[in-house]
Symmetry: C2
Subunit: 372 residues, 2 copies
């Protein structure tokens, strides 16, 4: 194998695939990036068997071939090279030289054909959305995937495509985050749970240009995100997901409209006083035209007043402030609607108009004596 390519493009390509390479594993080949030189392109591939990423770039291929290079070393060398044309050559003794101008590296390689292929996913039935839209949907829901693997299925997000709606849902034991957007669906319903780790990596690759599209292909065990020059393949999670639709009741006894950013700042301040451990609830008293947010811990007390628009009954209720902060941080609307049923039942945060998002948060039960 012998290729010439641009240093900066190669560094970008390595950066795209790098996160799918393993870090200390029983299979050292998984710590590598595979370089495949063929036609007018090189394809870089990393694959930790859960998640695989490949990235294609143009190059001048003098001799086709494939070789695997330790990802961290390969990345560091390419990043430090001058922004010029690089020559990469696989020698007969299985070493690889990387040269540019008066700099030359010689490093050991592993045989390219030892590198595990990415799982093949059928690419007939694709669902296409814009890359920044998918990124936004993931960013606005991923924070409530479960972090503990007592129920592995909840460590992922449900991709639920039905009719012409794409629903993305995550749930841990205490809250549900839901986003939806229209989608062109020619192929029927999809219900697949994609691991949170995959989604967290893919948000780093997704473009912010609205005209850049991503097509998703779902197989029995895998999903493939086709971004054009790069592809991400991930296994899916097995198990029974929550029937999330039934959880979002539209009934309420108390409904408020509140300024989202002001509400966020009040809760962030109130949570300063509860910083030791996340378990200190903040209390929210909802009255006709004001909300009083209070926090009382061994560090002191905090009281915040905020103007609201209330329909229905007054209510006193308590929440883990982190759960409210996570949601309020990702909402871009100026004002939001929050529905409450009772002190024991979850609140539901939603837009004033439309149903692009819904967030359900369970309250914390506070003993009456503590309330006094």
């Amino acid at each position: 194998m012998k290729i010439y390519c641009n240093q900066r493009k190669l560094a970008t390509s390595i950066n795209t695939v790098f996160k799918a390479s393993s870090n200390k594993t029983a299979m050292p080949i998984l710590e590598c990036i595979l370089i495949t030189a063929y036609g007018n392109n090189i394809i870089l591939t990393a694959n930790n068997l859960e998640l695989g990423i490949e990235s294609t770039m143009e190059a001048d291929i003098v001799q086709e071939g494939l070789v695997a290079l330790e990802a961290k070393l390969f990345g560091e060398i390419i990043r430090k090279m001058p922004d010029e044309e690089l020559e990469i050559t696989l020698l007969k003794n299985d070493t690889v030289t990387i040269a540019s101008g008066k700099s030359k590296f010689t490093i050991v390689s592993k045989p390219g054909h030892d590198f595990p292929k990415l799982p093949s996913v059928q690419m007939q039935k694709g669902y296409t959305v814009s890359q920044p839209a998918l990124r936004e949907m993931i960013n606005q829901t991923i924070f409530s995937t479960a972090q503990e693997d007592s129920r592995p299925i909840f460590m992922g997000e449900m991709f639920h495509i039905e009719q012409n709606t794409f629903n993305l849902v995550s749930v841990d034991g205490f809250r549900i985050s839901y986003r939806q957007m229209p989608i062109n669906n020619e192929f029927g319903e999809i219900k697949s749970v994609v691991p949170g780790k995959t989604l967290s990596e893919i948000t780093k690759i997704l473009s912010s240009e609205p005209q850049e599209m991503v097509t998703m292909y779902f197989d029995t065990n895998h999903v493939l995100f086709d971004l054009g020059t790069s592809k991400v393949v991930s296994r899916l999670l097995d198990g029974e997901f929550l029937s999330y639709n039934q959880m979002f009741s539209s009934d309420y006894d108390t409904q408020i409209i509140v300024d989202c950013k002001e509400f966020l700042m009040c809760i962030e301040r109130a949570s300063v006083i509860s910083r030791e451990g996340q378990k200190n609830p903040i209390k929210i008293a909802l009255n006709t035209d004001q909300m009083v947010i209070s926090s009382n811990t061994n560090l002191g007390t905090s009281v915040e007043e905020l103007v609201i628009n209330l329909h229905g009954k007054n209510l006193e209720i308590a929440f883990n402030p982190k759960y409210l902060i996570d949601v309020l941080k990702v909402i871009e609307d100026a004002e939001i609607v929050i529905n409450f049923l009772s002190v024991m039942e979850p609140c539901i945060i939603q837009p004033k108009i439309g149903n692009a998002y819904k967030y359900l948060i369970l309250p914390i039960r506070v003993k009456d004596k503590e309330n006094a």
Copy 2:
């Protein structure tokens, strides 16, 4: 005590003194910031008994007084407050209220008179330099203070003021960093060693405005840096410092002139290959008009060629790349002069013109067989 003050100015002031507060100590009062309200000012003070910082700001003092508040909590509350006027009041029950608009915190306090006073330093004999100049001198030398306390004196930097020159010197077992600048000296020679931790904190406070001055006062055991609105007091280190002047020989058998940034990039690349542990030397072969930098480890080999201007003998010598990188990173000159005596003796890096800086680095002995 009752005061009104600006939120943003108070947050800046807290930020200035914060690093001198202790983090977990046997004396909880040292985890506090002392607020002293007097006349038209409040003074914030933090003091961990090694290092003390105070910062003065204007405020509207309704009732004078002093109180100590836990630094981390006080800082977090003030940072999160809206950018408006704050009211801070010490109540009779020793709690303090911090209020702004519809936000109000009530937190516990400690008696202000329990807070240890900063050591008093005689302020007759001051040495004044511009703040960015002192910051630059510290940044260009602090990296070679010793990190281990086997010889505590070397964990600081020598402030040596003689005649009209201010010399700043740091030394660990392997290298010496030296910077000098002119200074107006009316009071005789100073030889004091200031702890590296103090210097690292003070660089964060020193202004980048050339017209802002700092005056240094040296006492037997302490130094005071007077920055105007803030003051930093630190203990000095005891012990015998190196007679650094004798170390910088002007003799050489090999002298090169080299482009500083190109040399840096070559060494950074060569050090990629020696990343496991810092102990892998890089070899430098100096020939009439070129330098060859090579590195050879179990990861592979790297060879770099660089144009130089050489006077004297050819030479092959080896260095810890980190020590060269530390120096080359802080030098702003385009070209530098490096003097060598032999493969066993230190090199000295200096400017082409003048003597604003000198850096001495010991080589690493490489066995001849390894050289082959």
